[in-house]
């Protein structure tokens, strides 16, 4: 994996995934080292994302590396008309690794082809955000002690939800059963059902969230956004039906954990936060360890 960019979760084999998760656990036990001493990491955030940037910067800082970069499009060269090709070629002359976020789909793959140094994709438009997927997997493994044979319920916008798509791809290595819960307008695309069929993975589709809670080991909540609906009336009809409340968890499994890629709006009621099954804030913290493991692995330092 050394010197190989991480653009899409499908760039990682099952073995790659498991190895990163083992390394991430080591960083959780010992997050502060000087392993990145003398390394310069470029953070190119062509689209602002405070949360993801903070997580990556924390990861690099805890490893003793230095960060350079741009954090929003207003100060970036792209507003002066520079092509992505030119920006990447220039920055790859300065840094040992580029972590980039971009609003255009496929920007990270293209960057990885013109860059002299490896690229970590921190989100390219609606396409991929592989480090999010890796922290989701880490959180699942940590709370369930395994990734194999789990009942995974995915709720919300399954049509456009990037986190959901990548999680389905990654979990498909581990023989899960999926429960897809969404409004009819936002169902999981056919290509993911095709993937499940090909791999012999069972899945069911529901409209009601209540049907997918009690059998779940993992309940993965996502936002249902107004702008995804062609018909505003449809949105008004469903906007309050994909909200998780504490009372709905009464008969859920003991080992159930609730995940969410954050930020949440109203899809998880605040009264869930104190339930020990709520795991979304720990999930975010896990992102730092996973990113430490990915950065070090790509730089060949592990």
């Amino acid at each position: 994996m050394k010197n190989k960019s991480l653009v899409s979760i499908s760039d990682f084999s099952k073995e790659d995934i498991l190895r990163i998760l083992v390394e991430a656990e080591k960083f959780e036990n010992n997050p502060n080292t000087r392993i990145l001493e003398g390394k310069v990491i470029a953070m190119l955030f062509f689209e602002p994302s405070t949360r993801t940037r903070l997580s990556f910067e924390t990861a690099v800082n805890r490893l003793g590396g230095r960060v350079i970069g741009i954090s929003d499009a207003a100060t970036s060269s792209s507003t002066k008309g520079e092509t992505l090709n030119d920006t990447i070629k220039m920055v790859s002359g300065y840094a040992d690794l580029i972590i980039m976020r971009h609003h255009i789909d496929g920007a990270a793959r293209y960057a990885s082809e013109v860059s002299a140094v490896p690229i970590i994709n921190a989100g390219d438009g609606s396409n991929q955000h592989p480090t999010q997927t890796m922290l989701d997997l880490y959180s699942i493994k940590k709370t369930q002690a395994t990734l194999e044979n789990l009942q995974i319920s995915l709720v919300g916008d399954l049509k456009y939800g990037r986190a959901v798509h990548s999680l389905v791809i990654a979990m498909s290595h581990f023989n899960p059963s999926f429960h897809f819960v969404s409004p009819p307008e936002l169902q999981i695309p056919d290509s993911y059902k095709l993937l499940c069929n090909k791999q012999g993975i069972s899945y069911k589709q529901y409209v009601e969230i209540s049907e997918a809670i009690n059998k779940a080991d993992i309940l993965y909540m996502t936002r249902v956004q107004r702008e995804r609906f062609t018909d505003p009336v449809e949105y008004e009809k469903v906007k309050n039906t994909y909200v998780l409340k504490n009372a709905m968890l009464e008969n859920s499994k003991q080992n159930l954990r609730i995940l969410h890629p954050l930020p949440r709006v109203n899809e998880i009621d605040m009264d869930v936060d104190t339930n020990p099954k709520a795991y979304y804030f720990e999930q975010a913290r896990n992102g730092v360890y996973v990113r430490q493991a990915i950065i070090c692995s790509i730089l060949g330092l592990l």
Binding site: S8, T83, L84, N85, H103, I104, D105, G106, A107, R109, Y110, D124, G125, S126, N127, Q128, S191
Partner: protein
């Protein structure tokens, strides 16, 4: 009736070269474009809206003294998978070419996703055919899967 006569004349007139027959009429000029026939100095005859038992109407293209590589000719499979390709030598069909959808294709199709980098910057497109029977092509960059009806030439 008249079109039929013309059609036969057109076919018989080719001494050496390639005949592309049974092209759906609405795809004829896309085939011209995908093979870049408009840039060739060779003698080319194009017939369109000819009567066809199978298609109703069809197009046909004859190119003198040109023999395409399989890679070139397989581009036709992207838009007219049922077209028939005959290689003519000395007025006779010496070979019928089977069209095969390629594993991947560069700089030929256009991505349907308006937010794809290939539609935003000067990046050549690159697709993988992940299901040749259903003609599903996946964009190498934005990873969007384009269905048969979404496949567009650049």
């Amino acid at each position: 009736m008249k079109t039929n006569i013309n059609h036969e004349l057109v076919v018989q007139a080719l001494k050496n070269g390639t005949v592309i027959d049974h092209i759906p009429s609405d795809k004829l000029f896309q085939v011209v474009s995908i093979l870049a026939l408009h840039t060739m100095p060779n003698q080319i005859t194009i017939g369109n809206n000819l009567e066809s038992k199978k298609l109703g109407i069809k197009g046909i293209i004859k190119i003198s003294d040109v023999f395409f590589t399989p890679k070139e000719v397989n581009k036709i499979a992207l838009i007219a998978p049922n077209a028939k390709i005959n290689i003519i030598k000395n007025y006779e069909v010496i070979k019928k070419v089977e069209l095969v959808i390629p594993d991947e294709i560069k700089d030929t199709l256009q991505c349907i996703n308006p937010m794809c980098i290939t539609n935003k910057e000067h990046v050549p497109t690159h697709f993988y055919f992940i299901d040749k029977k259903k003609r599903l092509a996946k964009c190498h960059y934005c990873e969007r899967i384009c269905k048969d009806e979404d496949l567009m030439l650049k």
